[in-house]
Amino acid sequence: MSLTIALAGNPNSGKTTMFNKLTGANQRVGNWPGVTIDRKTGKIRGTDYELVDLPGIYSLSPYSPEEIVSRNFLINDKPDAVINIVDATNLERNLFLTLQIIDTGIPTVVALNMMDQVRKLGDQIDVEKLSRDLGCRVVPVSALNAEGIKELIAAVGEAAESKKAPEPMYFDGDVEAAISQAREALHGKVPDDLLRFYAVKLVENDNAVVEQFPEARDRIAGVLKELEEKKDDDCDSIIADGRYTRITEIAQSAVKKAPRDERGTFSDRVDRIVTHRIWGIPIFIGVIAVVFLGIIGFAWGDFEVVGIGTYCTDWVNDVFFGEWIIPAVTEWCESDGVYSALDALLCSGIVGGVGAVIGFLPQMLLMFLALCILEDIGYMARIAFVMDRVFRHFGLSGKTLIPLLVGTGCGVPGVMASRTIESERDRRITAMTTTFIPCGAKLPVIAMITSAVFPGNGLIAVFCYVMGIFLVLVSGIILKKLKSLSGTPSPFIMELPPYHVPSATNIIKGTLDRGWAFCKKAGTIILLSCIILWFLASYTPGLEYIGDNATSADSILAAFGEAVCVIFAPLGWGDNWELTVGTITGLIAKENVVGTFGTLFGIEAGENGEGLEIVLGAMLTKSAGLAFLAFNLICAPCFAAIGAMHRELGRWRDTLMAVGYQCLLAYAVALIIYGFTSYIGGWNSLVVDGSVVEQAAPIGSTIAAVVVLAVIVYLLWAKDPFRQLSGKDEYDAEEEMRA
């Protein structure tokens, strides 16, 4: 018989790990709460049961969109049974949701997860007693070690087929009297089996239920007022208090805790340093710096250390492509004695363009590996915690960090992850600004510009990430001053998962998944773009083939690029139409910036076989290179990410506004970088044929940069006309009045 089983539990309780174990799926697992933002379905192996993995929730009174997904599924879709994943190391907090799930009347099996951790701590849980007290089957499991999975499947099958609802928890007499009145008021309006659940929620003043049944709420308003007066508390607190009292009783009788080390657990001790209010942020910057310096390298004057990623990328570009692939393909193409247009398309267009992108694969894989390790250890969750204080100061919630962290892989899921934020306004600002953080596709651009104008200097990559976070903060202040985006930041409550030794499977899978996605993109969208670009660069507007001279000024692409490149002249790179074309093709996919240069210049671009970086080094000063990089990282993301932004923002008008804001901000930042940094010694010179050619000081750009900076400073410091007082502000104002 086909049954639907829901998998529900607190965030980071191991639901997705359990989902993967039960179904054999390979859904992404992350060591931070909020990895799942929508439900996922799969078949439990060896059965006909459909398993639905729901986003993590703390209660059935939801606040954020992904919590609504969980509640609506349980209430509206009525699964045949629920597997409630409970973190056995935090039983008291997890049972708060369990009692509410039991209230829905759906047959429930409690999966007591992380039992391996419980044993490690020396705690003992009387599973039989817990099962009797909760009124439903309890199965001890360890999703990570696949312990107790068979027993869990058998138990949930029995529960679903028996259709026996567990016994709900009863409150004290006064509360039960109010619930009884609520049941009468709701009678006939909700299904009978959900009557108690809705009645408790009505007494609890649950927003969704009160909005759905306003007459019923009015009917029992007197009863609730009486109850609140008698108990001297709010109704929601009375219900929560009742539940916690019962949970304490259950936990005390079923759990025997071993004495704890006074210094706390290992995670507590590490957190005292890593999440320290002063050292937390420098440690975060230090960790990111170590990652990038190790992968890209470090250069200061004559001192240079080549990063392992740079070393591998150089080998792929210089030896694999430069000495093996390109000569072999060219030789084959020329074997008939003719180098035709088709031969040129294959050699320059396809191998040159796609090869330039693939050349950065080693660096990308190492970067993905480092990010996967940090994520699996549990450090990513700490970054969100540490940065919350900073973000709150700028009017944003620390929850904004979660989409930013997801966005380091790809902007599309990053933008989607913004839906974990409860406040609609914070959510919209986050969806608009998440792509400021460099995604995987932007890494080849960073690596290419770094190797061209700042050879072997990993600090440029660190700068890109810090700039991304800084611009999210600046945008938080500026955008909050718009009426439609004003408001106080939503509270940020996040459970810090314990540190654990990273799982090799998770890390390898995460790294290879991202690397494979990169290769697939190079073989599809980048390949097609390179073919089109080669055509546009090799034919005149009259469709006359001008030979394999891709940088010819007569080509269609040159005509277009030269018409547009004047826009970028104040940013220091308007003299070269190739750079403008690269920026525009980056809208299709950011790797296309590299692919475009590969097609236009070739990987072995110079007459003497110099690399792409030599050609770019002769086109961009350090200032212009940094401005080019900043513009390409901040301006409108690729079309896929714009689509994701549209799905989150809802209206095209808002999406266009967001894209317009991103482009404007990118232009402003690039202008400021170019206008001010050109005066640093050696930053305004080009390296042409090995000799340094000093460029004229960009006075016009500097004046424009001063004006733009003044406007930004004004927007940052101008009074917020729509500022709403937070609870703390109101308290401070009251204190001031009293004084």
């Binding site: 933002i37 379905t41 088709l342 398309l345």
Partner: protein, 61 residues
């Protein structure tokens, strides 16, 4: 003899393979970046996941 025919065939095969794969991804609801962004869910509310797996059902939240 000119090898243009072979080169042309290789390029045509690459183009056909990449276009077919893009269409296949699109039909599976995977966007061009390789991440999941279900096109079928368009307009039905927010029903996409951050996971790289297959596409879920589209129902209004």
């Amino acid at each position: 003899m000119s090898n243009d025919l072979v080169v042309g065939a290789v390029i045509a095969l690459m183009v056909i393979a990449s276009v077919s794969y893009l269409v296949y991804q699109r039909r599976k609801g995977i966007s061009s970046c390789g991440c999941k962004g279900c096109s079928r869910c368009k307009g039905s509310g927010s029903n996409v996941t951050i996971d790289e797996g297959g596409c879920d059902r589209c129902r209004k939240n």
